[in-house]
Assembly symmetry: C2
Homo-oligomer: 233 residues x 2
């Protein structure tokens, strides 16, 4: 099969039916605008299993997404969407870039959760966007942005409650959204420890890609621990 | 007199009445987070004359500010306010930082004008803030921010129309706002070619501090040309 899109951590292939795609996970991890890169056997399988389960969880809570069904250990079937070039970040606690950017102490809670948009643009380095920038750049309409915000906050709420039961603190997350041919906004991409920041509720240790970003342990062991608590391995 | 605040381009002294201050202009220009600095004789007098006239213009159009009256060639009397640590930027056309940050071509118009907030923080390098950050940092309430936005856009409209009559294109501007002891939000700081970007409508040449930032001519000659068209010299 010829890929229709070859990304950093996933490859997209044309699906078996019109307007569907196959999302296939790689074992690659990248960080720092892809300047850091490595391969971790089993990472793709773990991210796929976790993503499928979390998309199913959201659907069960009334939030549809591009996800249709799991296809194999490394892939799932999805509706084809046109990705809106925004990284939609929801933060329950401060960590990562925002602590340096705004001088907010690591771990400080945001109540309500803080929602941020970044422009998906490698040459520009994914700059922060306010709503006015999104409209000026023509990236989304007011209604589309409202829809994106509501879905992102609803997904955060559902995921946060779910992980709390697994003694995991959902710190922040990055969502991407896409548009179907008839204009529907759907949660897209993946939902995995690559896109969620997860801290063990007790030890506060990272169970996510920060292990790779900050070189603080074995990434696959942590991803497997998340999958274990989710009943997947 | 002992200064109560010594800034980059102005010094504040206690005023003759309670809750008033004297705003005295210096001949200093700074740029790039004050890493670049120089002195230009007559700059203070020109910025003071232009600021006083523009605050009076805004008042005549129903927009009050901290300005009370001109005191001398280099100073004006103002209401004492607590400055809200936000740089409020209104852009009619793209130039400066936004062209690099978002890849928007220089000179591209924003319709409606684009409003941006930056955190007045030298150690953090004045980072961009969205509304959600302003609330999370507790810098302003929703009502205060609404008031700031309305006043900034109204000031832009009045100033833009005024400069258009002088064959000057108002490209963008930086406002600061303050709070009186009874909670009123007032436009503060100065309004001069240090805080406005002004292009000659015909030649598109800068008549503002970009001359100093980009070393493209004589700053005082340009500021005097603005004052001349305003009927001040």
């Amino acid at each position: 099969m010829t890929p229709i899109y070859d990304g950093k951590a996933k490859t997209l292939f044309a699906g078996p039916h019109p307007h569907t795609v196959i999302v296939a996970f790689k074992d690659t991890a990248t960080a720092g605008n892809a300047q850091k890169r490595a391969t971790f056997p089993h990472k793709g399988t773990l991210c796929n299993a976790i993503s499928c389960k979390l998309f199913e969880l959201l659907a069960a809570h009334g939030l549809p997404s591009h996800y249709i069904r799991k296809l194999s250990d490394q892939s799932f079937l999805a509706h084809q969407v046109q990705i809106i070039p925004l990284e939609v970040v929801v933060r329950n606690r401060a960590t990562g870039s925002i602590t340096k950017r705004l001088g907010i102490p690591r771990g400080q809670p945001f109540q309500p959760p803080l929602l941020e948009f970044f422009y998906k643009s490698d040459p520009l380095g994914d700059p922060l966007l306010c709503e006015s920038h999104i409209f000026a750049l023509g990236l989304a309409t007011q209604n589309e942005l409202r829809e994106i915000q509501e879905q992102a906050l609803q997904a955060n709420k559902t995921l946060r409650e779910y992980f709390a039961e697994l003694r995991i603190d959902l710190i922040d997350m990055k969502f991407e959204f896409g548009k179907t041919p008839n204009g529907q906004i759907l949660l897209a991409d993946e939902i995995s420890p690559d896109t969620l920041r997860l801290w063990d509720a007790q030890t506060k240790e990272s169970l996510d890609k920060d292990i790779f970003r900050e070189e603080k342990g074995d990434l696959v062991t942590a991803y497997r621990e998340v999958a274990r608590r989710m009943g997947l391995v």
